[in-house]
């Protein structure tokens, strides 16, 4: 065991190794921007495998053991009537496996009935309440703070919502007043989509900046690995890669 621990300490837990791996996997994933290749696939599958493995171990240690295994063990040693609830919910949870059978799939419906009933009973009243709070609070400024900006906001909310809804009103042809209202509606929708798109782009770039920071900080590793990956890609596409029928290049 000591040998294994030493190997782990000097590889996976070694700081230099971690930095090089971080840079390598970042570059492997970015290599997809050039073209789909085995390095990208390796990086993608490694990420998925590690995420799933880590998630499972954490789930087992943090959820299953303290909330199910340990209480059932305790119940075995010192049984109390309320311990039956663990057994009951364990069995209810296990009914999910009946979904694998075509004939007995209905057994799982009882569990789903609990889940849906809880969700409907809890979510609907709370959501409606929250919607009313939001609606009423949103309109307050018109009466409380009569500034130009606050009043105009009120009008944008009311007429913006109305005109956007009119765009989706297809029972009458979009002509005359309805047509003009629908045109304003599409304008409002476009402004909204534009704002969301802008924010999304900013978010995506911000995510990349995190990776760029890693590459920039560890520039020795970045330069060495960029050269090695470039050589690999050149050799792979020159000598080993066979053109598929519908390649991304052809699509482009």
């Amino acid at each position: 065991m000591d040998i294994i621990n030493t190997v782990i300490d000097s590889t996976i837990l070694n700081h230099t190794f971690q930095i090089w791996m971080s840079v390598l996997f970042t570059l492997m994933m970015l290599s997809f921007l050039f073209r789909d290749n085995p390095l990208y696939k390796l990086g993608e599958n490694t990420f998925l495998g590690i995420s799933l493995g880590y998630g499972w171990v954490q789930l087992w240690n943090i959820t299953v053991v303290p909330f199910l295994v340990r209480p059932i063990k305790d119940a075995y040693l010192d049984f109390q009537p309320y311990d039956l609830t663990f057994i009951f919910w364990l069995l209810m949870g296990c009914t999910m496996f009946f979904r694998f059978s075509r004939n007995k799939a209905w057994v799982a419906n009882y569990y789903f009935a609990f889940v849906f009933a809880y969700a409907a009973g809890y979510e609907i009243p709370v959501l409606v309440q929250a919607l009313f709070i939001q609606g009423s609070n949103m309109m307050k400024p018109l009466f409380e703070q009569p500034s130009f900006f606050e009043i105009s906001k009120w009008f944008v909310i009311i007429f913006g919502t109305f005109t956007a809804l009119m765009y989706f009103f297809f029972s009458k042809p979009h002509k005359g007043l309805l047509g003009k209202t629908a045109k304003i509606g599409i304008l409002i929708l476009m402004i909204n989509f534009g704002a969301s798109f802008g924010a999304t782009v900013m978010g995506r770039i911000a995510l990349f900046i995190g990776r760029a920071q890693v590459l920039a900080t560890n520039y020795e590793a970045s330069i060495v690995l960029v050269i090695l990956i470039s050589i690999f890609l050149f050799v792979y596409f020159k000598f080993f890669h066979k053109e598929a029928q519908l390649d991304d290049e052809m699509m482009h």
Binding site: Y122, I133, M138, K153, V201, I209, G210
Partner: protein, 280 residues
Amino acid sequence: MEKFVLILKKLDRRWIFLLIFLACIIPFWIPTLFQQKFSTSKETQRVYDIINSLDEGDPVFLDWAFDPTLQAELLPMVEQTIKQCFDKKLRVFIYYPYLTGIGLGENLLVNIKKEEKYKNMESGVDYIHLGYLPIGIDMMIFSMYSDFKSTFGKEGRIFKGIKTFADIKYMMSYAGSAHPESYLLLQRRFGFRMGAGVTAVIGPDFVPYLQTGQLDGMLFGLKGAAEYENLRINQGADKIKNSRANAGMASLTLSHLVMFLFIGLGNFVYFYERKYKKSN
């Protein structure tokens, strides 16, 4: 002109990727060339002011609803909030609604404690990781309002004087999804005060909650994190150790300029072609 338009039309998309890549990475190599100043939004200022107004020993609840995929935007926000809480000697409770965030949170606290100023911060006294609970936020809130400590099954001096969630003075939820809405749904019923730190993607969805007053303040994307850092730096925090988000701001600006350029060129090609076709 036609030749130029033709070159632009046939431009390989990978040149654009390369330019964006360079725009993001160059500011990290030559930071002095890209120094910039920006104003602080009132939403960020409000979060800072609220935490600043709390008294020594007041408990603050942080909801860590993100994993490493969103750390570029959200980690600097949490880091600054925790440091501000430590400066004010507040008690910090960190809850993880997602399993994959726990390692990130523990790692951040280890790194914060490496700084001379925070080396004496003790788990269970000044802060505590409340861990993950396999229940929904709604059930957790009900449970916290029944008995805060036993909800998480943790021990420590930090719990002294806190019976229910009503004793928590302020809470912040950090997420890259609609997660903070789970708290907002029950806010009216229990009346707790909260702010949020969100990614730029999900940020616009939370603006109405600011207008209604359901959120006291909000940190919006990388810019929000950089503003928060600047607020702390202005109050005497070390600039070198608190510039994680600021370091990315120059990259963000430069990459946006590259994008503006290409959006402009794309529109130019489109309108030029339309005009050319009409005239023929």
